[in-house]
C-alpha cells in the first residue's frame, strides 16, 4: 500500500465445488508467491484436514495463532481477527469463507471477519465452495439431497475483486478421496456414500464453472472503443430494453426463504433491482398469531441479509395493495411462492388469481419448492 491512508483491501477468492479440489493449496501457493515477491503475508486461518501436500505449502509463512473459544465445555479454535488487525499485514490468507463461528464469537460468520479485515485495508485471499452460496441452496438440495447449513450471501462474493475457479475433474477427486488424500479413512468412506457421488460432483462442478463464468462476466472491464471490432457479449440494457425490477411477496409461509433465494439469484443474473414486500392483511380484523409474526420477522430479516430492500404495507385488499405497490415502483416481475393446495391454503390460491388478474402486463412467477430427487 502506498500513501498515508489505506484503501479497502483487495479481496480475492478461490472457488471450488467440493472439499479436496485444491482450493486451500492454491491459496497457500499464492501466499508463497506473494511472499517471494517481498509482500507481507500471514495466514489468518487455514484448515489442514491432515493433508500433507497442503501442510507443506505453509512452510515459511507466518501464522497468526488462532483464538481459543470455550463453548459448552468444549474448546474451539477460531480466526483471531483482533490479533490480525494488530499485526496489520499487507495480505491475509483465510480458508473457508462460509464457516460459522462458534456461538459467543464477536461475529457469527467468518466472512464477516473478512469484511472487517478488508475495511482495515488488509488484502484477503480466501477460499469457498460454490454450494455454500445462499441462492444455490435449494438447487443443491435438489441435486445432492443435502441441505447445506453454512451459507454465504451472494453479495459477499460479488464484492470480491477476483474470483478464480479451482477445477479438478470428479474422477481425479474421487481418486484422491479413495487414496485418503482428502479425509481420514472413516470419514472418506462416509463421504463417498453421500455428497461425493459422481453424479453430484459432476453437477456441482458444472454449477461452479457457470458461476465463475458469471462472476467473470460481472467484472468485465468496460468495453474500450476499438474500431473495426464487433462485441461478442451483449451490451448493457440500453434503449428499447426495459430495466427489470423484481418484487418478492413475503409471507409467514415456510417456503418464503426459498422464494427469496430464487428471486435474488434471478435478479442478480438479470441485473435487476430486487425488493420485497409483506402485506399485513387488515381486512380480516385479526392480529396474526405470535408464531406467525416471528416467522414473518425472520423472513424480513433474511431478505435484508440478502440485500433485498423490504417494506411492510397494510391493506384491506392484499392483492390490490401488492399490485399497486408493484406498479408504483415500476416492478416488471412479481415473485410468489407456489401455494400448497391443501384446503387451508385455498385462500392463497385465490390470492394468486387476483394478483395475476390485476398485474396486467407485469409477469407473475410462481416458484415451487425444490425437493431432493
Amino acid at each position: 500500500m502506498t500513501g498515508a491512508t489505506r484503501n479497502r483491501g483487495r479481496f480475492k477468492t478461490y472457488l471450488g465445488y467440493a472439499a479436496g479440489v485444491g482450493k486451500t493449496y492454491q491459496m497457500l501457493e499464492e501466499g508463497q508467491q506473494l511472499k517471494a515477491k517481498g509482500a507481507d503475508v500471514v495466514i489468518g486461518y487455514f484448515e489442514p484436514h491432515g493433508r500433507r501436500d497442503t501442510i507443506a505449502r505453509c512452510q515459511g509463512l507466518e501464522t497468526v495463532p488462532r483464538r481459543r473459544v470455550v463453548y459448552r465445555g468444549a474448546e474451539f479454535e477460531e480466526m483471531d481477527t483482533p490479533a490480525i488487525l494488530r499485526r496489520n499485514p499487507e495480505t491475509c490468507l483465510v480458508d473457508e469463507l462460509a464457516h460459522t463461528n462458534v456461538p459467543g464469537s464477536e461475529r457469527a460468520k467468518r466472512w464477516e471477519d473478512v469484511v472487517v479485515l478488508l475495511d482495515a485495508g488488509i488484502n484477503v485471499v480466501a477460499t469457498m465452495n460454490v454450494q455454500h452460496l445462499e441462492s444455490l441452496n435449494d438447487q443443491v438440495l435438489q441435486i445432492t439431497g443435502v441441505r447445506v447449513r453454512e451459507t454465504l450471501p451472494d453479495w459477499v462474493l460479488k464484492q470480491a475483486d477476483e474470483v478464480v475457479m479451482v477445477d479438478l475433474p470428479p474422477a481425479a477427486l474421487l481418486n484422491r478421496l479413495a487414496r485418503g488424500a482428502v479425509y481420514a479413512p472413516d470419514k472418506a468412506e462416509r463421504a463417498l456414500g453421500n455428497f461425493f457421488k459422481e453424479s453430484n460432483l459432476v453437477a456441482l462442478r458444472e454449477i461452479a464453472l457457470r458461476q465463475t463464468a458469471h462472476e467473470v462476466d460481472l467484472r468485465q472491464p468496460e468495453a474500450v472503443d476499438e474500431p473495426g471490432r464487433a462485441g461478442v457479449t451483449e451490451a448493457a440494457p440500453g434503449a428499447g430494453a426495459r430495466a427489470e425490477r423484481i418484487l418478492v411477496h413475503i409471507t409467514s409461509s415456510p417456503n418464503t426463504a426459498m422464494l427469496l433465494r430464487r428471486a435474488r439469484r434471478v435478479a442478480d443474473y438479470l441485473h435487476a433491482d430486487c425488493l420485497a414486500v409483506h402485506i399485513a392483511d387488515t381486512g380480516k380484523g385479526m392480529r396474526p398469531a405470535a408464531a406467525e409474526s416471528d416467522a414473518l420477522d425472520e423472513h424480513l430479516n433474511f431478505a435484508r441479509r440478502l440485500h433485498i430492500e423490504t417494506r411492510v404495507l397494510e391493506g384491506e385488499d392484499a392483492a390490490r395493495t401488492l399490485v399497486n405497490f408493484a406498479r408504483s415502483r415500476n416492478v416488471s416481475q412479481i415473485y410468489m411462492a407456489r401455494p400448497r393446495y391443501s384446503l387451508a391454503e385455498r385462500t392463497a390460491g385465490n390470492f394468486i388469481h387476483r394478483v395475476v388478474r390485476l398485474a396486467g402486463d407485469m409477469q407473475v412467477i410462481l416458484v415451487a419448492e425444490h425437493r431432493p430427487r
Binding site: 435449494d138 435438489q142 464453472l209 457457470r210 474500450v224 430464487r262 398485474a359 409477469q363 415451487a368
Partner: protein
C-alpha cells in the same frame, strides 16, 4: 438397474448403459487442460499431473513439448523420459510409432493444436493423439481456447489475431476429463510484461471475454458428461445444473413477448432456450399462420424448437420439462372471459400444482 415401471429392463436404457461402459473401455482415457490464453499455466499443470502420476508409480513419458520453455517448466520436463520428435523439412512432429513401441501407460502431449509438417502421416497432432488412445495409451494434453475450430471466428473477433491451427470441438467433448486452468487476466498480463495503461485495459477486456468463453465451454463438456452419466446410471430425471427455459406457445399467446423474455433470460444465465408447441387438432388457417411465424421467431432467437404430440397438453409439457431438466416454464394465459377456470380450475392451475422444482412464469394475453 434400468427398468420399466413394470419391472422389466428397459432395453434402450440398457443399450445406452452398455455403450457408455464400452466407450470407457475401448479407448485409453484422454485428459485435456484447457486454458484461455498462453501464459495461464496449462503446460505446467499438465506436466505437474504427469509428475504426480510418475511418483505414484505410473509409467509416464513426454510425447511432445513446446520448443521454448520457462525455467520452471524446463525443470519439470527434465524429470521425464522424452520420446524425441521426428523432423521433417522445417517442422517437427510427435513420433507416434516410437511412442507406440515404447508403450508407456501415459503420454504427455503439449500443444494439441499443432499442425504437422508436410509428409507426416497425420496433418494434425490431435489425430496423432487419437492413434495413441486407440493403441491403449492414455494421453494428457493441453490446448488453448483460441485453437477450438468452432470458436475460431468469435475468438478472432476478440483478439484480432488469425489462428491457423485448430482442433475440432467434438474431439474435446469426447475427452474423459477436461480441466480448466483458470487465472485472473492481470496475472497473465503481468507475466507477459509491461505495457501502457490503455493497452492494458484493452488486453484485460479481451482476456476476460476469452476467460468466460473457456469456462462456459468446459461447463458444456461437463453437462454432456452429466447427461450421459445420468442416462447410463440413473432411472431418475436429469439434473438441472444449468438454467433451461421452456417457453410454451399457442397460436393465441403473446409469443413475441414471451420468446424475447425467454431469450434474454437464457442469454443472461448462459442457459438453453427451448420453445415448445403442443400440436392441436383443427387449427384455423389464420392461427396456423400465426403459429408458423411465432416458431420462426423462436428459431431466430436461437431456440431449440420442439413440437409435442397432442393429448393432454399439461402432461406433455410436464413430461418434456422433467426429461429435459427444465428450470423455468413460461406460459401464457388469457385475461379475457373465464379467466378463473382457465387459470385455476384449468390447465395452468394443474401445471403450477405439478411443476416440482420448476418456476412457472405467467404471461397475460
Amino acid at each position: 438397474m434400468a427398468s420399466n415401471p413394470d419391472g422389466r429392463p428397459d432395453p434402450e436404457r440398457l443399450l445406452r448403459q452398455l455403450e457408455f461402459e464400452e466407450r470407457r473401455l475401448r479407448r485409453a482415457p484422454l485428459k485435456v487442460f484447457l486454458g484461455y490464453a498462453s501464459g495461464v499455466g496449462k503446460s505446467f499443470r499438465m506436466l505437474d499431473e504427469g509428475r504426480r502420476r510418475k511418483e505414484r508409480g505410473e509409467d509416464v513419458v513426454i510425447g511432445a513439448v513446446q520448443q521454448k520453455l520457462s525455467a520452471k517448466v524446463a525443470e519439470l520436463v527434465s524429470r521425464f523420459e522424452v520420446v524425441p520428435p521426428v523432423r521433417s523439412g522445417q517442422g517437427y512432429a510427435m513420433d507416434v510409432p516410437a511412442i507406440a513401441l515404447r508403450r508407456p501407460k501415459v503420454c504427455l502431449v503439449d500443444e494439441l493444436a499443432h499442425r504437422n509438417p508436410p509428409g507426416c502421416e497425420n496433418e494434425h497432432r490431435w489425430q496423432d493423439v487419437e492413434q495413441l488412445l486407440t493403441a491403449g495409451i492414455a494421453v494428457i494434453t493441453a490446448v488453448n481456447l483460441n485453437h477450438i475450430e468452432e470458436l475460431r471466428d468469435t475468438v478472432e473477433q476478440i483478439t484480432g489475431k488469425q489462428v491457423s491451427e485448430t482442433v475440432p470441438k467434438a474431439f474435446l467433448m469426447r475427452a474423459e476429463e477436461i480441466a480448466v486452468v483458470d487465472a485472473p487476466p492481470d496475472e497473465i498480463l503481468e507475466r507477459l510484461g509491461a505495457r501502457s495503461e490503455g493497452d492494458r485495459l484493452v488486453a484485460e477486456r479481451r482476456l476476460s471475454e476469452l476467460r468466460e468463453m473457456a469456462l462456459l465451454l468446459a461447463a458444456e463438456a461437463v453437462d454432456l458428461q452429466l447427461q450421459s452419466y445420468i442416462e447410463a446410471h440413473a432411472a431418475s430425471h436429469p439434473i438441472g445444473a444449468q438454467e433451461r427455459i421452456m417457453v410454451c406457445i399457442t397460436p393465441r399467446s403473446n409469443a413475441r413477448v414471451m420468446i424475447e423474455s425467454g431469450r434474454r433470460n437464457a442469454q443472461r444465465f448462459r442457459g438453453e432456450l427451448i420453445v415448445v408447441y403442443v400440436r392441436q387438432p383443427f387449427v384455423p388457417a389464420a392461427d396456423q399462420a400465426m403459429l408458423e411465424s411465432n416458431l420462426a421467431l423462436a428459431r431466430e432467437a436461437g431456440a431449440r424448437v420442439e413440437v409435442l404430440e397432442p393429448g393432454d397438453p399439461v402432461e406433455a409439457i410436464l413430461e418434456f420439462a422433467n426429461e429435459n431438466a427444465v428450470t423455468q416454464i413460461f406460459v401464457g394465459h388469457s385475461l379475457r372471459r373465464n379467466w378463473r377456470t382457465r387459470l385455476f380450475g384449468g390447465p395452468i392451475d394443474r401445471l403450477i400444482r405439478r411443476a416440482e422444482g420448476i418456476d412457472v412464469r405467467i404471461f397475460p394475453h
